[in-house]
Point group: C2
């Protein structure tokens, strides 16, 4: 068996060193850099740094929201499972995809459960951090609600993944963020691990360099 | 707002159609094809099909294990959260990363919590499906235990991700699978969503074409 690194702190340090070495992080602000680092760390792909879209104050908005105890609204259980609770302070992680009655609501609205659950976020959306790591339809539905005049979240983390609607929903968000701060990965790639990693980076509020 | 597909069945069908169109799935067996399809679907990258390593009977072994109610041993909560329970039958999803006493055990063993939790799998490993979607050290530690003579799992799903040990642990597994069936993604990429997707495909037992 080949030797391998076992010390958690050493593994983190070496991981982040490799990311810094390969990802040209100097193009990002001090607030964005740790978010980008953790996004790359979560997926093993430095090249995603080239495909990120974000508003100028996105990282600051997310950090401020979490520092003030804003909830994190997740589009699937995996995003919630990936959020490191001990970094979160007073913020609650909210998952609604298994809420009772949601299948009926989705059928009534003629959409996916992922999209329909956004309706359940109405009372908590203002100032929240929205973390979408799975469903393009959830991101689309959220933008429809914002177009209808819903209160704005503090930050939209747009990481839906896949072949149908993922690239399109993130292009729609980046093209017109409806006055919200946002961080999104363009294209088909994304996923729960990236959405959680962004939340974790914002909760930690770490800066490098 | 641009129009988008809202019908879940239509979204799945169109996703799988695009995967089939782009991924040259005909190179895979009838049993592996649905696994590869769901792996690609989970990450949005058709090119991962080129980097998969697997034993000849891996998909069949995984399907048989789950059909007989074998447990799924997961290296992190996110893998467990991504497994669709209603497809699983009698199989239990086992996550141990938050087990009481694990931090002490990890400190005693001089390794990560992810690796140390493998010790807790001893009584359930024989014939189980092991789903590693996060930690290279968990996969390394499992191989050490197999080298010590532990009973064999039915299938190892090797999808640790990242910059330190991920590629190395999967190369070690593919180079010497210790007599176990396995499916792994070579290189830095991987993640919980892929590990869960493989379990879901095996549990569904679906075949295309």
């Amino acid at each position: 068996m080949r030797p391998y690194l076992k010390d958690p702190a050493a593994i983190y340090a070496e991981s982040f060193r490799i990311v810094r070495e390969e990802a040209r992080l100097e193009r990002f602000s001090r607030a964005m850099e740790p978010v980008v680092t953790r996004l790359i760390h979560a997926c093993g792909m430095v090249e995603i740094a080239d495909r990120l879209a974000f508003s100028p104050g996105a990282a600051e908005a997310g950090r401020a929201a979490l520092a003030s105890g804003a909830p994190v609204l997740c589009d699937c259980e995996m995003v919630g499972a990936g959020i490191i609770r001990r970094h979160l302070g007073a913020s609650e992680v909210v998952t609604t995809i298994n809420a009772p009655g949601l299948p009926d609501l989705a059928a009534k609205l003629g959409t996916t459960r992922s999209a329909a659950q956004v309706e359940l976020w109405r009372e908590r959306i203002e100032g929240a951090v929205v973390a979408i790591g799975n469903a393009p339809t959830a991101l689309f539905h959220l933008m429809e609600k914002l177009d209808e005049g819903w209160p704005k979240p503090a930050l939209i983390l747009g990481f839906p993944v896949g072949f149908v609607g993922a690239a399109e929903s993130k292009a729609e968000l980046a093209g017109d963020p409806r006055g919200c701060d946002f961080i999104a990965l363009r294209g088909r790639r994304g996923g729960s691990a990236m959405a959680s990693a962004a939340v974790n980076a914002l909760a930690l509020g770490e800066t490098h360099g």
